[in-house]
Symmetry: C2
Amino acid sequence: MAKVKKAPRPKAETPKGFRDYFGTQVTERTDMLRTIAGVYHRYGFDALESSAVETVEALGKFLPDVDRPNEGVFAWQEGEEEGNGDWLALRYDLTAPLARVYAQHRNDLPTPYRRYAMGPVWRNEKPGPGRFRQFYQCDADTVGAPSVAADSEICAMLADCLEAVGIPRGDYLIRVNNRKVLNGVLEAMGLSEDTQRDAVLRTIDKFDKVGESGVRALLGKGRLDASGAYIDGVGLAPEQADPVLAFLTSKGVNATETLDNLRAAIGTSEVGAEGVAELAEMADLLAAQGYGTDRIEIDPSVVRGLGYYTGPVFEAELTFEILDEKGRKRQFGSVAGGGRYDDLVKRFTGQSVPATGVSIGVDRLLAALHAKGRIASDAAGPVVVTVMDRERMADYQSIVAELREAGIRAEVYLGNPKNFGNQLKYADKRGSPAAVIEGADEKARGVVQVKDLILGAKIAENATLEEWKERPSQYEVPRDQLVAKIRDILEGQG
Amino acid sequence: MAKVKKAPRPKAETPKGFRDYFGTQVTERTDMLRTIAGVYHRYGFDALESSAVETVEALGKFLPDVDRPNEGVFAWQEGEEEGNGDWLALRYDLTAPLARVYAQHRNDLPTPYRRYAMGPVWRNEKPGPGRFRQFYQCDADTVGAPSVAADSEICAMLADCLEAVGIPRGDYLIRVNNRKVLNGVLEAMGLSEDTQRDAVLRTIDKFDKVGESGVRALLGKGRLDASGAYIDGVGLAPEQADPVLAFLTSKGVNATETLDNLRAAIGTSEVGAEGVAELAEMADLLAAQGYGTDRIEIDPSVVRGLGYYTGPVFEAELTFEILDEKGRKRQFGSVAGGGRYDDLVKRFTGQSVPATGVSIGVDRLLAALHAKGRIASDAAGPVVVTVMDRERMADYQSIVAELREAGIRAEVYLGNPKNFGNQLKYADKRGSPAAVIEGADEKARGVVQVKDLILGAKIAENATLEEWKERPSQYEVPRDQLVAKIRDILEGQG
């Protein structure tokens, strides 16, 4: 055996694709999750926190290769020695664990079971810019409710959530589609072969990117993509592709017109008629609760998730424009999505259990609120009590204790107090609204100096250093008026 | 190759040692973490959420065996094929990631850096009853502050946290010790050999379990343990063991007496004198802020963590008695601990950076509050609006929308409405305070029926089924007085 050398210094780095969140990056998300949890709770949903680790078996990834299972998840094998224990993995979403939880605890849980879950999930994917291997999901699902009343409730709740976190009505739109209508269209087209149906489904999925003419080409002979490569088409005749295009472009000026267009597209298909009836019922239910088409509307051009879901599908978009990194205007786009998936629990129990749910992308929502300047960032640093005399630390601690008692965020400077400039630099770095100074002279006279750092910063923007030193952003106040003075400064704050 | 068979049904189970948390188990913890975060914030600490996944290298576990590294952590190897990438692992605490974060971002972070962190950690250990492989930690640490002012601040903050979550003054005690005093004692004993010092340290660690006489025996020839096995001792002569026992039992009637006893135990040791001075300074600082010995006191019998920490060590105990599973009274015990550890960042940077911190055991604290009946469990289920007529779902949805608008948790029954008894059973399972009934008759007369399920349950406890049916826990109210009636019922609630 080789001799063990002293280990070199470890690199202080997160693994590739992972990151840390600091200060308000954490608290803004925590606040948003709390707000959303409040809405979910009011709708009767209960919290669930499942374990972050699941068996690979329960997650529903099988083992194509014993040596390297689970592409897409972080997985490892249990046991004293490799090769003899269960494979475990980090959850990749919150839906697969819900299926396991419901199957495991179904005798103790109410039916229907409404639950919400919030937390990180992990994906073993190639990281990219803005693309991380750990991120938050924030889901609500109803298990065991077959009717579209459950789906429309989820859509209404989603609208309430968006408004609760600060997206005003008019700045978002929840668009609803239905997989059964699409199935009806495929039936009307006479596509009996599964492979051809799957090819059409995959093509429809590109509607967002390539638009009507692109989908038409891809359903037919094919098309050149942006990179110049030729993409083979499904090979349908133009008239065979018509029903699909009719479906995707069936949105009318109101729900009645849209539903009429859909009825035309599905021909005599029963499942298609069922889908149209579901959309009509959702529109009625939502209207009865006061959710008009300014908030939730039927829109058959929503294709995201149509391949995965089995009934209603919905997506929330922010409709305002923001400037992208190149200064071009663009729509902010999707921040939440969901739908009905009726076969998830069946894997475990053999019984089909209806389920519907939504996942809100909290990090995208936070980004949207930032882009619109609508987040009230509680980034205020603490009042910093400086240390003029190392021997009188107890005095400074009493001052902060008094400030905290009054509900004011405050701390004593705990670095090396020798260089007073460093203490003020520290206060600056913390974003402190004020610094408190009590030297021997102030102590003797029963006063303290208070530096208004917010005002100081404003003055500094427009003044030379000399001017800045002269300006009255520093006040002397009697020691017993310190709390009141600090309050004044905080209230003068933007 | 063997033919691939259809996979059997997966087991719906969490992996061994993992569990799920439901409803109030989640929200009570969330609320507690939020309360503690509020205190941490007021003390000037900033939130940090580091990634759950770290490189094994950064976590500080080395690889004793290339085939099976990282006993104690969940780890796996990156890369397309096994054997060629970085080893990654789930964090086992929040301190090791803090060291990595501080080393990585030290040029951007303020010094001192006060941060708090809350979240799950994972341990790859044999699970046992009440012992899980994923659990929460809730830490606050100050990095870069060398003085004991930082340690005393942490102790004061810990007291504030305990009171904020509902442990009243008098029901907890934070006990403070100092590793340097122990080092002084070891020096005074003339134990120069590291191996002998380590043996003494390990023995002291058993003081909580075996008491004074046990430690004396283990420092000498050894003793029989409870199972009848003979445990070899360190082999010190009785008089050599005296200073250690003097240290452990040095607590006097007040801080002055304790400090005097400690001074006697350390002889002429310089590091020992430094430790005693630190304890004295902490006592002064805490007294100046109003934290008396009813909340925080010097107690050299605190041994937990003395082997790990380098300066002050502290532990919070709940001092009230609870009944254990066998009905015997016992002290609830420790709920938080911490201390100073000055070498953690050095592994990365080569520079020693002083750090001190505390970790609060939120799950133990929750258990304590439950044991004392002090948790205000917000377990109230939603008002359930029953479905009498499937065709009028829109009406029922309007009723819940109205209730939610008024801030009342409410939902429509979304299961199969055919059996009305099932709807009431569901409401019961959800812990609903009330059920609302609007049949065709009520609709026509402009009224609704409201069942007070809280009152109903109370009556049911003392009544026969026949009596129960007769009792007036069901009211008919005009439709427009529904919200007011539900409010009355909710306010009558315990």
